[in-house]
């Protein structure tokens, strides 16, 4: 992802060298943050899904699948940079109690907002391709957050003072 890559004979995988290695060092924490957010979303949708039914349940299942695919993509990207992908936690503390469909939808929106923020972090790295990846990747969770929240917002992922 950072341009110059070399093949490590020992590991048998591409690792960055020189300036690319420096860029990778800066990119890896942002990628790890995105991966952690995806892992949290995968867990959270499991909780939210238990309180949803019908088309909302189907939407949650679809979103859960999307987050699993994104996790796999990020895991591969982090590994390609020579780092070890952060492991998912066994349990995540929820920001509030989820007891019904309304709180489940609220949790889904909360999770998507977290993923949106994490991808926005990637837009700050120097690598242009990672920037473009982060900017594009945040659009999906921003759309899903709007769906679960029921409203759009002017600045997804940004903390904007009211």
């Amino acid at each position: 992802m950072t341009g110059v890559m070399a093949t490590s004979a020992a590991a048998g995988r591409a690792v960055p060298t020189g300036r690319a290695a420096l860029a990778a060092v800066r990119a890896v924490p942002a990628l790890q943050a995105a991966l952690a957010a995806e892992d949290a979303a995968i867990f959270g949708y499991g909780v939210a899904g238990a309180h949803l039914s019908g088309s909302r349940m189907s939407a949650a299942e679809q979103d859960w699948t999307v987050h699993n695919e994104a996790r796999d993509t990020l895991t591969a990207m982090i590994s390609a940079l020579g780092a070890t992908p952060v492991a998912a936690q066994a349990f995540y503390r929820l920001p509030f109690e989820v007891t019904d469909a309304a709180s489940a939808a609220k949790l889904a929106a909360y999770l998507e907002e977290g993923v949106t923020r994490a991808y926005l972090g990637l837009v700050a790295v120097s690598d242009r391709r990672l920037r473009a990846f982060g900017a594009l990747a945040m659009q999906g969770p921003a759309e899903r957050a709007a769906f679960w929240r029921g409203t759009t917002e002017a600045f997804p992922g940004l903390d904007v003072p009211g």
């Binding site: 837009v123 473009a132 900017a135 759309e143 409203t151 759009t152 917002e153 600045f155 904007v160």
Partner: protein, 169 residues
């Protein structure tokens, strides 16, 4: 003391390898206005495009286009514009208008439309095309600017994407 310091300056410069023009280099009043930075020029173009988007939405609201919460989407575009304009600080003598992108020379303006023209009838398809073009334009531009500005562009592009979904399709 001052006289001694001034007298010693040429010798000091010589020993450090500096010329007085290196030390005192600054804006040359005879050289004309300095060029604006790439980020500023990009920001001007994005502001012009956002202004065009607002005109389009305003025309849609005025034309009572049957979309739920069209005014809400318009309000968010006005927030985008406010935030973008807050980032634009120009030296005296420069115009806030984009030199390269006059109002409505936006990526989503109709090829046949004259600059500044608002279509007589704004359709949902037109709004959708405008949102899509705006998001794509921001994604293209954000890789060339400083990170903080890039993040603002990315956030606005994501907002445009949510508008696209809100407009249906």
């Amino acid at each position: 003391m001052l006289a001694a310091s001034a007298a010693a300056l040429p010798a000091l410069l010589a020993t450090t390898g500096c010329r007085s023009s290196d030390l005192f280099a600054g804006p040359d009043p005879l050289a004309g206005r300095p060029a604006l930075s790439h980020d500023v020029i990009t920001l001007q173009a994005v502001i012009a495009a956002e202004q065009a988007m607002i005109k389009l939405y305003q025309a849609a609201v005025d034309g009572r286009l049957g979309v739920d919460d069209l005014a809400g989407l318009l309000a968010e575009h006005r927030q985008h514009l406010g935030r973008l304009q807050a980032r634009l600080v120009l030296p005296p003598g420069f115009s806030a208008a984009s030199p390269s992108a006059p109002p409505f020379a936006s990526p989503f303006a109709s090829p046949s439309a004259s600059p500044g023209a608002v279509p007589a009838r704004v359709t949902i398809a037109r709004l959708r095309a405008a949102e899509q073009a705006s998001a794509a334009d921001l994604l293209r531009r954000l890789v060339t600017v400083q990170p903080a500005l890039a993040q603002l562009f990315a956030s606005i592009a994501a907002s445009d994407a949510t508008h696209l979904a809100a407009l249906g399709g």
